[in-house]
Structures are given as C-alpha cells and as structure tokens.
Symmetry: none
Subunit: 169 residues, 2 copies
C-alpha cells in the first residue's frame, strides 16, 4: 500500500505512547526502504484540532521548495516558522509505537483512545469523536464542492442490466 487508508483506533498509554496501525507502518516502510522511511514528522494541524503526521521523505521534499527561497525574505521567514516551529520528528520503537509530544496531545485534545485517519499521502491523529465529526463534515463539504474528481459519481449507467442470473446464454 502506497497510501494511508482507513481509520484505525488505538490506545494512548500512560507514557504517551501509541501503536501506529500496522497498515500505516507497512506504508511507511514502503515509502523509504532505508531508515528515513520509519521516521515521521508530527505537527499540529492549522485548521483542525488534530495532529498531522508526515512521512519524513515527503516532509523533506516539501522543505526543499522552501530551501530555494531567499533565506532573508519575509516569505521564507513566515513559511519556515509555520512549518518548522511546531514540528516534532518521532521515530517508532521496535514495537511500532511512537510517543506523542505533550503539546500535540493537548492541541488535539487526546485522552485514552486516539484514531489514526488516513488521508492518502499523510495521516492525522484525532480524538475519536472529533474524528467522526470531521469525517461527517468532510463528506458534506466534498459533496458541496461537487466531488470534483473524475468518475466519483458512483455506479453510472451500469444499472441498465440489473440482474443476469443463471445465464443460459
């Protein structure tokens, strides 16, 4: 799997650890076969009460574009602050768990259970109920947006042949 898919719920223990879902671990491994693949960059989402998790390689490619900016420009300054200042690199232990920084736990309002929400190239970590609300909202907004993806209209004209059972043709 090259993408983070699905929603998975795990428990945050007293030490602030959570198991990264096995499916996500597999995706991470496939992203970077070396050691960087296991790495993650955690940062607070700017738009939602949740933690954004970036695979290290993807985050690096993101910052490369930033590195091309003039070091003394305002643009660089702002972007750098927005991107780096709140970012925490984490690494999974041998059991595949990561430790969530307190600041991020607070930002996402996490308690005992947390859910990992796959968003394709990245994933997010949510408080379970907030995550459910968010999915609901995203669905509504995506629909309002007109589902601007080619082919997303489910099940087109194929219904013209509803049943073809026991064909003796």
């Amino acid at each position: 799997m090259t993408h983070f898919l699905g929603t998975h719920q795990n428990k945050l223990d007293a030490k602030g650890r959570v198991s990264v879902p096995a499916a996500f671990r597999a995706a991470l491994r496939s992203l970077g076969e070396g050691e960087a693949g296991g790495g993650l960059i955690l940062r607070p989402s700017h738009t939602h009460p949740c933690i954004e998790a970036w695979p290290a390689p993807l985050f690096q490619s993101l910052t490369q574009s930033l590195d091309r900016l003039d070091l003394f420009s305002e643009a660089h300054d702002d972007l750098a602050a927005a991107l780096y200042a709140d970012a925490y690199p984490v690494e999974a232990d041998r059991e595949g768990r990561i430790v969530l920084p307190d600041a991020l736990i607070a930002h996402a309002g996490l308690s005992e259970s947390v859910v990992f929400m796959g968003l394709g190239r990245i994933f997010q970590i949510w408080e379970p109920e907030a995550a459910a609300r968010r999915r609901e909202e995203a669905r509504a907004r995506a629909r309002a947006r007109g589902l601007t993806l080619p082919g997303l209209a489910p099940a087109p004209a194929a219904t013209s042949r509803p049943v073809a059972e026991g064909g003796h043709g």
Copy 2:
C-alpha cells in the same frame, strides 16, 4: 469478463470472511495481471447502505487527480478525508475470500448472508433484502427515465426487454 455483472449471494462466516464470487474474481484478475489486480478498495457508499468495492487500479486512477492537489488546500483536506478515511484495502486469500472490516459491516447492516451486486466497473456488497429493494427501485427509476443511455438512444426492439429475472422471493 472485464466487468462485474449479475448478483451473487454468499455467506459471511464468523470471522467476517466472504468468498468473492468466482465471476468477479476472474474480472479482477483480468484488470490487473500483476499484484494490484487482486486488490480491492472497500468503502461505504455515501448514498446507500452498502459497501462499494473498487478494483485497486480503478481506485488509483480516481485518486491520481487528488494526489496532484496542493496538500495544504482545503479542497484536498475535504476530499482526502472523504475518500481515504473510510477506505479499506483488502486482499483475497488463496480461496478467494476477503475480510470485511467491522465498520463497513455495520454500515451495510450485514449479517449472515451478503449479496454481491455487479455494477460494471465496480460492485457493491449488500444485505440481501436491501439489495432486492434496491434493484427494484433502480429498475423502476430506470424505466421512468426511459432507459436513456448516451449512445443507446436509437433503441431497437431488443432493449425493450428490461429484466430477465429468475425470481426467488
């Protein structure tokens, strides 16, 4: 067969497994000869109480446009959450069975028996009675609409045969 046709009923066992109908398995194989072909993406239908099953290659082509979107845009956020967060990749075991995630079983209200409904390029998984109702409804609406398919307009007499069903309750 390159399309999913017909309606097939199989049993969901205690472990949450179902056999994918052999005809659908053949279609899947022909879609992607490599490894991706055997893969399926399951997601809850947003419009019906059923599970939508997408062949992995088709789902990928669907998401390619999404992957080109700016990761920080609202559009990406909403669409990614709507598309990916409820999507579960599954792979058939050597007997051709897949495991349905609990969340999707709940969404579709599945119990002992499930129905696979071919919709051409994708298929759906239904609770049997709900599936029957759905076919009924689709049939009625299609008829009301005059079964107008683009390109099918100059309909010869043959198309007037709307349904050839072997009725079983």
